[in-house]
């Protein structure tokens, strides 16, 4: 067991001895850690440390070579991403995903899970229930856009907004899926400082309202300010886990950043 695995009282996510290699490269090397419910947990590490790979393993996009992933106490190892999402875990991607041909609010409406209108038969058998949930979802989407102060973008083409606004929309859309734990891969990469601050405030606010976050971030100031605890990944395994203070002053972490990855 790696040193990073601090005991958790009520973990919403548990990763145990997870392994994944690509050819000869061990991208995830016996990684073990947990995410305590209600926290904003940071995941940092040098470039190529395997952070995104870990996200892909947890969310079901990659099949692990060994180890287990538990969400809310259920073993989700080897499940399809949609099944993992059903257990309350939603993830975003490092590069913003564009929805060609949709307006912002249309793109937002992809977020809610288990919409009655996602069943083909219901469209014809019970159009009333589709209208009802669609109206409710649309109202909810507009409410969240307002909270994020981007409601003026609602009817813009989703591909016409800035990279930073796209990150905000992604976060807003992920919230519509009502996750218990939300995994964000570099939410402020390439985002200007004003929008980054906005994103930080939003993440904090959503966290106070009950969503647990696990976020990868390169911007040290951002992550140290927002997250606690912080898990440090190096060459696929968990180097250490601790408070921002503790991590900042840990020699091994400094060595990893200076010597390793980049």
């Amino acid at each position: 067991m790696s040193e990073g695995a601090l005991p958790k009282q009520d973990p919403v996510l548990r990763v145990d001895d997870l392994q994944k290699s690509f050819g000869g490269l061990a991208a995830t090397d016996h990684a073990t850690f947990g995410v305590e419910r209600g926290t904003i947990t940071g995941l940092i590490g040098p470039n190529g440390a395997g952070k995104s790979t870990l996200f892909n393993l947890i969310s079901g996009f990659y099949e692990p070579d060994g180890g287990t992933v538990e969400v809310n106490g259920t073993d989700v190892t080897g499940m399809e991403p949609y099944q993992v999402a059903d257990h309350g875990l939603i993830r975003t991607f490092q590069t913003p995903r564009k929805l060609e041909g949709m307006t912002v609010r249309e793109a937002m409406l992809v977020g809610p899970r288990k919409q009655p209108g996602e069943s083909f038969l219901t469209l014809f058998a019970s159009p009333g229930s589709v209208s009802e949930s669609e109206s409710a979802n649309l109202a909810e989407a507009e409410r969240i856009l307002e909270e994020f102060e981007i409601d003026h973008l609602a009817t813009q083409p989703a591909t016409d907004i800035s990279g930073g606004q796209m990150k905000l929309v992604e976060l807003a859309r992920a919230m519509l899926a009502e996750p218990e734990v939300l995994l964000l891969d570099e939410p402020v990469a390439g985002v200007n400082p004003t929008l980054a601050k906005k994103l930080k405030d939003q993440i904090r606010r959503l966290n106070e309202q009950g969503t647990t976050f696990l976020l990868i971030e390169h911007d040290m100031e951002f992550v140290m300010d927002l997250a606690d605890p912080i898990v440090v990944l190096d060459q696929g395994h968990v180097l250490t886990e601790g408070t921002p203070e503790g991590v900042r002053n840990d020699d091994r972490v400094i060595d990893a950043y200076l010597g390793g990855g980049t």
Binding site: E80, R97, K98, L109, V110, L138, Q156, T159
Partner: protein, 393 residues
């Protein structure tokens, strides 16, 4: 808002390409009407053309439900069309080597069931993989189906094809005898060239009503589906399947539904063709049908049901127009002329309007949910067009 409630607002609401297409369509319809009244175009032949246009529209609808909605690349349009055509022909024809003689409704159901099974057979192994796998597998499937039809004589009559197919309304009350029961009419619009409406005219009229019903219902179903959360998931898959997966959508299931839906519509086109043409042969499974359907969808604007309808009509115009030109004006073989024209159309569309003539113009949200809310102003160009259509439109 519908045309009936407020016609002026409906017209003011049209985007420019919509206005153009509407104008050209009206002009074309008038042209055909004049041609018919002057006797240059026989009314029965005209109705046959309308039937053909309906058939191509159905094929384009089917492909649009796969490629336009979800981004599924299906190169076996002709195979599903052929399954529909042969399925109903073999069930209903007097010369059928197997069952034969059933009511055309039985033929319809059997054809759709066979198409469903075939869609599952090819969808199950390929739809979990990247889109290219379906493309390759469907290319093979088209050829396999064609060769089976050509060679399994005990089942399909082989190269002789199937004859003795009844009209679709055979055995129905009233409708089965409707063409004979109707009186022959003789209309004189221009003195000296009377228009004669006999039994074959009424027969064709029935066929046209049939294809209008098929295409109308299909259009209605597809439009509702496209505006729904179901359609939104398909559009998300087309744009970025991983995003849909991350948001908890079972993309394999959605892709399968889209593939089956499209395949059934293609088979429906085949069923109609059987009872229009009253003969089917292995030549009806030639890949040219697949090619036409793709041209129609790309020309009309991928993802747009109206575009698919428009594309289907253009295909029939080119197909039959070249034949007409050959008969009347230019002594050029229609087959190469047709391909030349289609080539010119494709080049022109790719050069000047890569997103197609009528790509989806407006937001697609379940209509009753947006009523009374702020809608985006789309006078000049659609949501999809502001970006110049994007690479894959």
């Amino acid at each position: 808002m519908s045309l009936l409630d407020d016609p002026r607002a409906t017209f003011a609401d049209l985007t420019r390409p919509e206005g153009w297409v509407l104008g050209v369509s009206v002009a074309f319809a008038l042209f055909l009407l004049v041609a018919m009244l002057t006797g240059a175009l026989g009314p029965t032949y005209f109705l046959f053309l309308v039937g053909l246009a309906g058939m191509y529209a159905l094929l384009s609808f089917g492909l649009n439900a796969q490629w336009g909605f979800t981004g599924l690349i299906n190169f076996s349009v002709a195979a599903f069309f052929g399954i529909g055509a042969y399925g109903s022909a073999l069930m209903t024809a007097s010369s059928s080597p197997i069952a034969g003689g059933f009511n055309p409704l039985v033929g319809l159901v059997v054809a759709l069931v066979v198409a469903l099974v075939l869609a599952l057979l090819i969808g199950i192994p390929t739809l979990r993989l990247r889109t290219d796998y379906l493309a390759i597998a469907s290319l093979g499937l088209a050829e396999v189906v064609r060769l089976v039809v050509l060679n399994e004589r005990w089942l399909t009559n082989g190269s002789a094809g199937v004859r003795g197919i009844p009209g679709f309304f055979q055995g129905w009350p009233v409708l089965s005898t409707f063409p004979e029961a109707m009186p022959g009419l003789r209309l004189v619009v221009i003195p000296g060239s009377p228009i004669i409406l006999g039994t074959s005219f009424w027969q064709s009229l029935l066929n046209v009503l049939l294809v209008l019903a098929f295409a109308g219902v299909t259009f209605f179903v597809l439009r509702r589906a496209h505006q729904s959360p179901w359609g939104r998931v398909l559009r998300t898959i087309r744009s970025d399947e991983d995003l849909a997966r991350a948001l908890g959508k079972n993309t394999y299931s959605f892709k399968m539904q889209s593939f089956i839906l499209g395949s059934l519509i293609m088979a429906l086109a085949g069923v109609f063709y059987t009872h229009l043409n009253l003969y089917v042969g292995p030549g009806d499974l030639d890949p040219i049908t697949t090619f036409y359907a793709w041209v129609a969808v790309i020309l009309g604007g991928s993802g747009s049901n109206r575009g698919a309808l428009f594309g289907g009509i253009v295909i029939v115009t080119i197909r039959e127009g070249t034949r007409f030109l050959n008969d009347v004006a230019l002594p050029i073989d229609p087959a190469p002329m047709r391909l030349l024209l289609i080539g010119v159309v494709i080049v022109a569309v790719m050069r000047y309007r890569p997103q197609g003539v009528l790509p989806p113009q407006r937001e697609l949200i379940w209509p009753s949910a947006v009523d009374g809310r702020a809608t985006p102003e789309t006078p000049d160009s659609g949501v999809r067009e502001r970006k110049g259509g994007g690479g894959d439109e």
